[in-house]
């Protein structure tokens, strides 16, 4: 297991390095510079000084080297557009908000999705099953910004149950989290249902029945665990999806999260901000995949064997 973790960790670092490198060179390949907005440059000497300050006057490879070196000490550099703010401090401020929103959505999606999928499977081909699956199809097909708009219109504006937008109390979390969770929820529900239906016909379920265990014990202890294994694999991608998907939702609900900085960064050609947010999200994503792999190994004892052999 330890060898496996070490190997996975190394491949995680390599993946990250590739992402950083590709993003760095692609970003610089796009024409334009942070100080040439609207075509008319600012004072040429000032631009010179600025370029020097941000090392933009050096050869690209040198810039790349400097960036990697700073990155090793986790320094994402100063923001070009929001001087004297640093990218680190912007992430410090924005990420907790995005993270909170994302985690609430994921938690809600996982719990309700698994519950819904399980109930649908246990009531296979009955009304609840059909209703749950119609809901799931809608949840997957309808984009979350439409769900967000509907939620704002009815729950916030018409019924005045919750605040329309912005951030602050727990009440502000509910609507954006709901909007953000519909897709993952529907996906998890569908997957859980399909797996559950299959697992319930497995021989070991009959063995459990032959032992005299109650239906509840059989479903929770013997079936659910095996049915949600594939859901766990999906989780890494879903978390990434929710965090990146939150850009749009953050915009709609005017939430001061990471999404705002990311969009700003691109609009302003703010190199260090673009790099910083990309590196940060990639690291997060790759790390999530890593965690999911390890978690999978813990839930499914068969995995360990494969890795040991490999």
């Amino acid at each position: 297991m330890t060898r496996y973790i070490v190997r996975r960790f190394v491949s995680m670092i390599v993946t990250l390095w590739l992402i950083i490198t590709i993003t760095f060179f692609l970003m610089h390949a796009v024409p334009g510079s942070p100080f040439e907005k609207d075509g008319k440059g600012a004072n040429p000497t000032a631009v010179q000084n600025l370029m020097a300050f941000y090392h933009l006057d050096k050869p690209l490879l040198t810039q790349y080297g400097l960036y990697l070196k700073a990155l090793l000490s986790l320094d994402l550099g100063p923001s070009i557009g929001h001087f004297p703010d640093t990218v680190n401090s912007m992430i410090d401020r924005g990420f907790p908000v995005s993270f909170q929103l994302g985690m609430v959505s994921i938690a809600f999606a996982v719990i309700s999705g698994i519950a819904l999928g399980t109930i649908a499977a246990l009531r296979h081909n009955r009304l609840i099953d059909y209703a749950a699956m119609v809901f799931a199809v809608i949840g997957i097909a309808v984009p979350n910004f439409i769900v967000a708009t509907l939620l704002i219109k009815y729950v916030a504006v018409d019924w005045k149950l919750l605040p329309v937008a912005t951030w602050g109390s727990w009440k502000h979390v509910i609507l954006p989290a709901l909007a953000l969770s519909t897709g993952p929820l529907a996906l998890i529900a569908r997957m859980t249902r399909a797996n559950m239906l299959e697992v319930l016909t497995a021989d070991y379920i009959e063995t459990a029945r032959a032992k005299g265990l109650s239906p509840a014990t059989i479903v929770i202890k013997h079936a659910l665990r095996n049915a949600i294994l594939p859901v766990v694999t999906l989780l890494g991608a879903l978390v990434a999806n929710v965090l990146t998907g939150s850009f749009v939702i953050e915009k709609i609900f005017a939430i001061p999260g990471m999404g705002k900085y990311f969009v700003d960064g691109i609009n302003n050609r703010d190199y260090s901000l673009i790099m910083g947010t990309t590196v940060f999200y990639s690291a997060l994503l790759v790390f999530m995949m890593f965690v999911v792999d390890i978690a999978y190994g813990l839930i499914d004892p068969r995995i360990k064997l494969h890795k040991k052999e490999g």
Binding site: Y204, E206, T207, R209, A210, K211, G212, L213, L229, R302
Partner: protein, 343 residues
């Protein structure tokens, strides 16, 4: 009916009929099966694939698919208690505690993600009011009994860490751990190779000697029957066509189907894991079983009466009986002496 000298009857199945509802109609899988199981004995049920052995076994634990299967007729009495009328909740008290089941393929019949210790312990904890620590002790003891070495460490392992024979031992430990009165083993050795088969059969015998458990063993394999059973029921197309002691059946088979089975008994050098295909032809359609003898289409001794009327049971001894017109006392008067056996 029971004499003082004979052991008590544990299980009494009388005229059992089980059907499945399917899209094609009603499958009459078990059609009038009757037998008894006494304390401490081993009863074998043999027959070709699809003849209703597993359905009969599952009926006794009421483990048939709820939506499609139904016990149409007949009774199953366990220690005098009628099982067919019990609620699901009452049945759960018996399952694993009084009547246990061992399935063919331990690889799929055990849960791959739960430790084998937990799978054994959960049954004990379910049925006996004891602590986890005590259950653990019993599980370790049981694993040792079925021949798993260093059971304390093995307890924490998962299914994939055991060989095929070991898995079946674990399955047996799991079924026997609550000391049930009846152990139903549905083809427990079919998935194993011959040497392991012999070990598992020895294990059953040892277990029976130690605990006095009565065993119903379901198999294709007459070799297993000869090695393990006291009595045998031969099933064909949902009916028991012949029953008797192992001795009676192997030495004096009466029913043409039994004779056919014996004639095609595999030798030591053939692969026993394959089902026997002894007699030319296939069993009848269970959607619409024939009016007369179900074996008539494949029987070389078939007579006119066989296709028209179902044969009744004829006793050859107190323990031996068969359902074939050849042995019906009336047949001897009506027909010429039947053609000699084809065995």
């Amino acid at each position: 009916m029971t004499f003082k000298s004979t052991p008590d009857v544990l299980l009494e199945v009388d005229n059992l009929h089980v059907s499945f509802k399917t899209f094609g109609g009603e499958v009459k899988a078990v059609r009038g099966v009757s037998f008894t199981l006494r304390e401490g004995e081993t009863l074998a049920i043999v027959g070709e694939s699809g003849c209703g052995k597993s359905v009969t076994a599952r009926s006794m634990m009421r483990l048939l698919p709820e939506h499609s299967a139904s016990i149409r007729q007949g009774s199953i009495r366990f220690k005098g208690q009628e099982l067919t009328g019990l609620s699901e909740k009452q049945m759960r008290e018996l399952r694993g505690s009084e009547i246990s089941m061992i399935f063919q393929d331990a690889m799929t019949a055990l849960n791959p993600t739960i430790t084998i210790g937990e799978q054994i312990m959960e049954g004990i904890i379910r049925h006996r009011k004891i602590s986890r620590a005590e259950a653990r002790k019993q599980a370790i003891e049981m694993l040792g009994l079925v021949g798993i070495t260093s059971p304390e460490t093995r307890l924490k392992q998962h299914l994939h860490e055991f060989s095929g024979g070991m898995r079946q031992r674990i399955m047996i430990a799991m079924a026997a751990v609550c000391s049930p009165s009846v152990l139903i083993a549905d083809e427990p050795t079919t998935a194993l190779d011959v040497t392991i088969q012999a070990q598992i059969i020895d294990l059953f015998r040892m277990l029976q000697e130690k605990t006095g458990v009565a065993i119903i063993i379901i198999t294709h394999d007459l070799g297993v029957v000869a090695n393990m059973a006291d009595r045998v029921n031969v099933m064909y197309a949902g009916e028991i066509v012949e029953s008797g002691t192992v001795d009676e059946l192997f030495r004096h088979p009466q029913h043409p189907y039994t004779k056919g089975l014996l004639a095609s008994m595999p030798r030591l050098d053939t692969d026993r894991s394959k089902p026997l295909t002894p007699i030319p032809g296939t069993p009848p359609d269970l959607f619409a079983p024939p009016r007369g003898c179900a074996f008539a289409a494949r029987c070389s001794n078939a007579m006119e009466v066989c296709g028209a009327h179902a044969p009744e049971r004829t006793a050859h001894s107190a323990t031996h009986s068969s359902a074939c017109w050849l042995h019906d006392p009336r047949a001897k008067q009506v027909f010429q002496p039947p053609i000699a056996s084809n065995g």
